[in-house]
C-alpha cells in the first residue's frame, strides 16, 4: 500500500516537472525588461518620459511579433526615488526575482553609479537613458555591462565649453554644481574642457539637494567677475538657482546641463526660466523624420500629448525609444536573453538602425559604450515655459 502511494507521488512529480519544462512554453513567455528610474519626486517627469519612450518602442516591436520568434516584450518598472541604496535593492530584485534580460536606467547618476557593481556581478546588461555621469560607462570593468544612449558628462562638458567660448563668446565662467557624484563628474569635465579652450573658471560653487537659496554662491561668483554661470543641477535646485539669480539682481546668462529638464522647472520658476539655455539629445520641434512623426503620434494617442510643446522631458522619451530598439536588436542577434550574450551582441551590433536621434551603425564597441557623443547634442532654451531649439 505504502509502496503504491509512493510510486504515485513520484509519477505525479515527474509529470509536473515535464509539464513545466522549458521546451513547452518558451515560445510564449514574455521577455522581461526592467526599468529603474525616479518615477516620483522632484525628477518624476524624467521617469515618466523614459517610461513612455520605452512603452512606445515595446508596442511597436510587439505589434510585429516580438523577439526571438514570437516572444513579447514586457516592461517591469521600479521607482528608485533617486535613492542609490534603493537603486541597488531594485537592481537585485529585477534580475534575481523578475529575471529581466536587461535593465534600463533613469535620471540619477548617483543611483546608476551605485548599481554598476550589481550589473557586473549578476551579468545583466544595463542601458542608461539619462544619467550622464562619465564613470557609469567608463567604469574600468572588463567585460563592461553598462551601456548608454544618452549624454556622457565628459562629452557634455566639451559641448558646453565649446558653446560658451565659441558661440556665446564668454571667457569668465563660474561653475555652480550640485554637491554629489554627478556634480563632481562635471567639475572634472568642465575644468578640463574649458581649460582646453584656454579658459579657467572664476569660481566653482556647490549647493546641496533641497537648498532653498543659492544667493551666497551667486554673489561670490558675481564678485569674482563671472560673465556666465554654468549650471549642473536638477529641476528643484535649478529653480532655486534661477530665483536666487533674480533676487540678487544679476542678469547673467545661465548655461546648463540637462538635469533641469527632468522635473517641474518651468512651473517652479515661472517666467524666470526664460533664456536658460541647456543641452539635449533631441528636440521634437521643427521638421521631424518619419520616426519622429511616428513617436509624436504615439505620444498623442497613448498619452494625450497634443504637440511638441507638451512633450515632458523629451530627451527621456527619445533616448529610451532608441535604446529599447537597440537592446531588442541585440537580443535578436544573440538569439537569447542570456545577459552575457546580449552584452556581447550590443558591443558588436550588425546592420544599421535608423533611429529617432540618429542612424546607429555599430553604436557600441569594447572601448565605447556611449552611443551618442557631442556630435549628436543640440542646444535648447526655455521660452515661455516651453523648450525650443536655439536658432
Amino acid at each position: 500500500m505504502v509502496y503504491r502511494r509512493w510510486m504515485l507521488s513520484i509519477a505525479l512529480v515527474a509529470l509536473a516537472l515535464v509539464a513545466s519544462g522549458p521546451g513547452v512554453h518558451a515560445q510564449s513567455t514574455p521577455v522581461k525588461l526592467g526599468l529603474s528610474a525616479a518615477v516620483s519626486g522632484g525628477s518624476a517627469a524624467s521617469g515618466e518620459a523614459i517610461k513612455r519612450g520605452l512603452l512606445i518602442a515595446i508596442d511597436e516591436i510587439n505589434a510585429r511579433g516580438g523577439v526571438l520568434g514570437g516572444r513579447k516584450l514586457e516592461l517591469v518598472v521600479r521607482d528608485d526615488e533617486g535613492n542609490p541604496a534603493k537603486g541597488v535593492v531594485i537592481a537585485r530584485e529585477l534580475v534575481e526575482r523578475e529575471q529581466v534580460a536587461a535593465v534600463f536606467g533613469g535620471l540619477h547618476t548617483t543611483v546608476a553609479l551605485a548599481q554598476v557593481p550589481v550589473w557586473h556581478e549578476l551579468k545583466t546588461p544595463y542601458m542608461g537613458m539619462w544619467a550622464a555621469g562619465t564613470n557609469i560607462t567608463r567604469n574600468g570593468q572588463k567585460p563592461n555591462y553598462a551601456f548608454r544612449v544618452s549624454a556622457n558628462d565628459d562629452y557634455v562638458d566639451k559641448f558646453l565649453a565649446r558653446y560658451a567660448t565659441e558661440r556665446l563668446k564668454r571667457g569668465k565662467p563660474g561653475f555652480l554644481l550640485e554637491n554629489t557624484a554627478w556634480g563632481q563628474s562635471n567639475e572634472v569635465g568642465l575644468t578640463k574642457w574649458f581649460g582646453d579652450q584656454g579658459v579657467k573658471a572664476v569660481g566653482i560653487e556647490k549647493f546641496n539637494w533641497n537648498d532653498p537659496d543659492m544667493s551666497p554662491q551667486l554673489l561670490r561668483l558675481k564678485n569674482g567677475g563671472a560673465d556666465l554661470v554654468v549650471l549642473v543641477a536638477n529641476a528643484p535646485e535649478g529653480a532655486q538657482v534661477v530665483k536666487s539669480r533674480a533676487k540678487v539682481g544679476w542678469a547673467v546668462p545661465i548655461l546648463s546641463h540637462w538635469g533641469i529638464s527632468g522635473g517641474r522647472f518651468a512651473e517652479l520658476t515661472g517666467d524666470l526660466s526664460d533664456g536658460v539655455t541647456f543641452i539635449q539629445t533631441y528636440s521634437f520641434f521643427g521638421q521631424q523624420s518619419a520616426r519622429g512623426q511616428h513617436v509624436l503620434k504615439q505620444l498623442a494617442e497613448k498619452f494625450g500629448v497634443k504637440g511638441p510643446e507638451e512633450v515632458i522631458a523629451p530627451v527621456g522619451t527619445a533616448n529610451a525609444y532608441d535604446a529599447l530598439h537597440l537592446v531588442a536588436l541585440a537580443i535578436e542577434q544573440a538569439k537569447s536573453t542570456d545577459g552575457a550574450k546580449v552584452r556581447d551582441a550590443l558591443e558588436d551590433l550588425k546592420g544599421e538602425y535608423t533611429g529617432l536621434i540618429k542612424a546607429y551603425r555599430r553604436p557600441f564597441t569594447s572601448d565605447q559604450h556611449d552611443a551618442l557623443t557631442d556630435q549628436d547634442y543640440i542646444m535648447v532654451v526655455w521660452r515661455g515655459g516651453k523648450i525650443v531649439p536655439v536658432q
Binding site: 516620483s40 533676487k247 540678487v248 539682481g249 522635473g263 517641474r264 517652479l268
Partner: protein, 275 residues
Amino acid sequence: MYGLVALGYHITWVTSRTMNFSQGHAVMAGGVVAYGLHVAAGWPLAPALVLTLAACALFGLLVERVAVRPFFRAASPVWLLSTIACGIIAENVAMLTFGKDARAFPSALATRPVFILGAGVYPLELLLPVAGLSLMGAVQLFYHRTFFGKQLKAVAFNAEAAGLMGISIPRAVMTAYGLSALLAGVAGVMLAPLTNVAPTMGTLIGLKAFAVAIIGGLNSAAGIVAAGLLYGLVESLVAGYVSTGAREIVGFALVIAMLVLRPWGLLGARPARRV
C-alpha cells in the same frame, strides 16, 4: 522663522515638560494645506490661511491626544519617540496625497525683489521677521496678560497645585500643543513662496528650531527669540563668507557648544542646586 517654530517647543515644554518633535512637520503641514487650498483648489488667500492655521492647530491637538497624553499621565519620556513618529506619519501622508516633488507657491510678495543697500530682498523676506516678532510678542502678552495664559503658566509652574486650584491640566496641555502647531503653521505658510512646498520641507526646519530652542533656553521665551535671530544671522554670515557647506556644521556645532558650556541656554534659568 526659526524663532517662531522654536517658540512652539518652548510653549509645550513650559506647560507640560514635553516637546512636540513633529513641530517641523507642522510647518510642512502649513505649507502643504495652504498649497492645497489656495493654489490647487483656488481658494482666495484669506479663507485658505484661516483654514490652514485651523488645520495645523488640529494637527497639534491630535499629536497631543494620541502621542503625548497617554505617556504624560504615566510620566514616561516615550512622548519623544511618539511625537517623532507622528511627524514621520504626517510626512508620509503628505507624500501620498501631495506628491513627493516640490511645488511652487506663488505670492505677490515674493515675485520681484526690492533692492536695499545693493542687496536684493523679497518683500516677503522683510515681512518674515516683522511677523515673527509680533507673533512672539502676542504670545507673550497672552501668557502674561490674559487669564487663560496665566493658567498655562500655573500648570507649568506646578501642575499638581494648579490642578488643585481647579485649572484643567489636560486642557492647558492641549492648548499649548494647538498653539505651538499653529505658530509652526504660520511659519510654513510664510516660507512656502520662498522655499517651495514639499513634504520634506519641515524636517530640517524642525531640527534647527529645536537647536534654537536649546540655545535660547527652553524655559525662556525671550532667549528663544534672541537665539532665533542670532542663529539665522550666523547661518547667513557663514554661508556668505565661509562656505555654504559649513552652514549646517556651524549651526549645529553651536548647539553642542551650548549644551556643553551653558546647558540652560542663553537666557534660561540656571537650575538651582539643592545642597
